[in-house]
């Protein structure tokens, strides 16, 4: 199946080259990249700005710190290990429970302490980071995601991606992992992308492997009924990332914690384009509307309000 570039252009679908040349290169100043490329720095900045993030349990920066860290991890039932400079969700180890000396992954798979040690060691040597740089492993508290979404996701935590342009929320989607995506939230690996209405937080479309679907393939839950709570908070939280990171074009990744509400997981300076498929809509017209604004400098709440009244 192929389509003509003219059709895509008329629909306002943004291509990778245009994203890179016209938005990322133009609105994202390189000097602000380190803040978002290093999740530890992002977390610090977020805390300073009063933006909610998952709690940091600890970090491992050197190989010799692994042994003491492991003894701490032995005391925990649930935690997440992430490379601070990881990209594309690589190297994230989620532990949801214990079985004796073994740790349980969301899939139910058991791994030993040695496996955890190797994972941290690999992380430190830069296996998961951009360009193979030496990295830091961060240990975070596991997000207890809202049980209302249990059926929307298979094994993984569903996360919400909001594209923020010049501080305005322009498009949003929820990514739900499936069995075929192996619990990962990457759309090209078979996760479901659910387009969300900017105005209401209700679902618009659900797409898996570039096909429109109505129900989750594993849980059979209908996406029609999906209606995200705390929508205003989610949008406000995402929009405030603009002030925090100074990036003109960013993607904010959010999870809903049962008790803490929406939390910023990470900020992406090069958000992907799959969101257009989930929304069945091109980004370009919305981006151009914001670009055409004469006075885009508004308080966060006003920007969110503006987006919600202008777009579905």
């Amino acid at each position: 199946m192929i389509t003509s570039p003219l059709t895509l252009k008329r629909m306002g679908i943004m291509g990778m080259n245009q994203r890179n040349v016209d938005y990322i290169a133009r609105y994202n100043d390189r000097q602000f990249y380190p803040l978002v490329d290093d999740k530890l720095k992002t977390k610090e900045a977020a805390l300073k700005a009063g933006i909610s993030v998952p709690t940091l349990i600890g970090k491992v920066s050197h190989q010799f710190e692994i042994k003491p860290a492991l003894s701490n991890l032995m005391k925990l039932n649930q935690f997440v290990i992430k490379p601070a400079q990881g990209s594309g969700g690589k190297g994230i180890l989620v532990i949801t429970g214990r079985k004796g000396d073994h740790f349980l992954k969301p899939s139910g798979e058991q791994i030993s302490l040695l496996d955890v040690q190797r994972h941290i060691s690999n992380t430190l040597s830069g296996l998961y980071s951009l360009g193979g740089r030496n990295d830091v492993a961060m240990v975070e508290e596991l997000v207890n995601f809202d049980p209302r979404f249990n059926d929307y996701s298979y094994q993984g935590v569903p996360d919400i991606r909001v594209i923020i342009f010049k501080g305005f929320p322009v498009m949003a989607m929820m990514r739900c992992s499936t069995e075929s995506s192996d619990g990962k939230a990457n759309l090209h690996q078979g996760a479901v992308g659910v387009g969300l209405s900017i105005a209401t937080g209700k679902s618009l479309f659900a797409v898996q492997n570039d096909r429109l679907i109505t129900h989750h393939p594993d849980t059979n839950k209908s996406f029609e009924e999906l209606n995200l709570p705390h929508w205003e908070t989610i949008l406000t939280l995402s929009a405030s990332c603009f002030e925090m990171t100074h990036l003109g074009y960013l993607g904010a990744d959010i999870v809903l914690d049962n008790e803490l509400g929406p939390l910023i997981l990470e900020v992406n300076a090069r958000p992907g384009l799959a969101i257009q498929i989930a929304n069945q809509l091109g980004l370009k017209h919305r981006l151009q509307t914001v670009e055409a604004l004469e006075h885009p400098e508004m308080p966060i709440a006003d920007r969110v309000e503006w987006s919600r009244t202008h777009w579905l």
Partner: protein
């Protein structure tokens, strides 16, 4: 100027200057744009022969031979001297080049060689001749002068103007009509030259003449003495005469060796000296001729070319100069087509090794190493190793595999298997490591996608980098890489869709068609979500 306009402006300048320099080189410096053009190259070999003064003990000897200079219509490409134990030096005096051979003790017959290669494109060369001397002097003594006068008087009687006078003198000398001719030629021991005699006779009438020495470029001549052409200044113009009536007296295919002067060759400490010329012509690739031409011309920039490097370095540059084109292919395939590769420029390096091994043998060998490497790597991931150590371990394994493949293929009689050594080991090791991580992180499907992508790009690079035309142009016209740079700049500004995106977003476009919206400008989602 906006940044985008700036990029286009710079790119345009780069592209134009690349093409401009290339065309200049092709049309002004005669570098052929197409491989295989040939040109006629003349090789002139001059042999200086003489006998050293003493047969036994040896005396100091100094030989000086006038050399031809660059002249219009003829390009001197290359010259070689043999010295045979002589000290060799060249010097320029009054715009005349000379080679001087020196030896302290020379015994018996001596031979010295000077070889010259040149091209000739048939333009007139008369402007080489100097300004005339208004009061020419004669070198005749009293007795000779009387004899000369009688020749002159006879010729003068039998002619009407200067031109016919000179012709008549030449005729008289050729046919020896007067006894004075014999007397003069025998007496003129110094040169024994008829042209010299005509020059002297004309000087009595205050007509200036000069002797042009050189050789006619005609294939297959062997051991010829230098030819002499007499140029006589008549009516503000040099007219040419010679003593071989069958030849026309133009300088068209004449290689001027010396204008004026007494002789080509000057030998001190020897006798019976003689210089002879042999001439052959052959066809040579125009490219080689142009390179010679560049290297031997006197311009300051001439030395600043790849061809001035030693041959060994040149052959390295043959490969290096292909890399920009490989890079261009990678940029094109990633930006315009959207092929995913593992490692941005890794495909170029693989393509470079394919160039060494040829694609047919390189591809299976490459695939074998990567696959076996992946198998072993999957075990390595089970044991605890630091990343650097693991990659190093893979390097060792890759080396082992290379050895194994070489030996096995050699034993089986497949010589091509030995080519495996041309693969860059470190690159192979990193490829294996990356692929294995993709396998673990994203599954075998992504390994297949990125692996095939990398290979496709590498193969595309290979075909571009091995195309004869491209190889030839990249090496002989490195200026073209300015154009490559300009094109890369422009590709870097491309913000349109990638070919792969036409597939990726096809479903979104199709859904638009399915709903059959009345107004294309209105987004379909708004309608649909209104219902939801």
């Amino acid at each position: 100027m906006s940044s985008r306009a700036q990029v286009y402006f710079i790119a345009l300048i780069l592209i134009l200057s690349g093409l401009g320099l290339t065309l200049y080189k092709a049309y002004e410096m005669d570098f052929p744009l197409v491989k295989g053009e040939t040109r006629q190259v003349w090789t002139v070999e001059s042999v200086v022969k003489f006998k050293a003064n003493k047969e036994t003990s040896g005396d100091p000897v100094k030989v000086s031979l006038t050399l031809p200079s660059q002249q219009s219509g003829i390009s001197l490409l290359d010259e070689q001297f043999t010295s045979n134990g002589y000290g060799l030096s060249t010097e320029v005096e009054n715009n005349v080049r000379k080679v001087i051979w020196n030896k302290r003790h020379a015994v018996g017959p001596q031979r010295l060689y000077y070889k010259l290669q040149l091209t000739h494109d048939g333009q007139q060369q008369a402007e080489m001749l100097p300004l005339p001397n208004p009061a020419p002097e004669t070198s005749l003594n009293k007795d000779e002068e009387v004899a000369a006068k009688s020749i002159l008087d006879m010729a003068f009687e039998q002619s009407s103007d200067t031109h016919s006078l000179v012709s008549r003198i030449v005729q008289i000398i050729e046919s020896k009509d007067l006894p004075e001719v014999d007397f003069l030629l025998k007496n003129d021991l110094k040169t024994a030259s008829k042209s010299k005699l005509v020059k002297d006779i004309l000087a009595l009438k205050s007509i200036d003449a000069t002797i042009v020495r050189g050789i006619y470029l005609e294939d297959g001549h062997r051991r010829l003495p230098p030819e002499e052409i007499l140029a006589v200044f008549i009516n503000n113009d040099w007219r040419l005469y010679n003593f071989d009536s069958e030849r026309d007296t133009s300088l068209d295919n004449f290689l001027i060796w010396q204008i004026g002067g007494s002789s080509l060759l000057d030998v001190e400490g020897g006798y019976d000296s003689d210089v002879r010329f042999s001439i052959i012509s052959n066809l040579m690739s125009s490219q080689k001729v142009a390179i010679w031409n560049t290297l031997n011309s006197d311009s300051d920039t001439a030395d600043f070319t790849i061809f001035s490097l030693p041959i060994e370095q040149q052959s390295i540059f043959k490969l290096i100069l292909l890399i920009p084109l490989g890079a261009l292919v990678v940029v094109f395939l990633r930006v315009m087509v959207g092929i995913k590769t593992s490692g941005t420029f890794m495909p170029v390096l693989i393509a470079l090794s394919f160039i060494e091994t040829s694609l047919v043998t390189g591809l299976p060998v490459f695939l074998t190493i990567v696959m076996v490497g992946l198998l072993i790597r999957s075990y390595l991931s089970r044991i605890n190793l630091l990343l650097v150590a693991r990659v190093a371990a893979i390097v060792v394994i890759v080396v082992g595999l290379m050895g194994l493949i070489s030996i096995t293929s050699y034993k089986l009689g497949i010589e091509q298997g030995l080519m495996v050594t041309f693969f860059p080991m470190i690159i192979l090791a990193w490829t294996i490591e990356r692929m294995s991580i993709i396998w673990e992180e994203e599954g075998p499907k992504d390994v297949l996608i990125q692996g095939t992508g990398s290979l496709l790009v590498a193969i595309a690079c290979y075909f571009v980098m091995t195309a004869d035309v491209i190889k030839y142009l990249a090496f002989n016209f490195p200026e073209l890489h300015l154009t490559t740079l300009g094109v890369i700049f422009i590709l870097g500004q491309y913000n349109g869709y990638r070919l792969s995106e036409l597939f990726r977003f096809a479903q979104v476009a199709k859904s638009e068609n399915e709903w059959n919206m009345p107004e294309p400008k209105q987004s379909p989602t708004q309608e649909k979500s209104g219902e939801a």
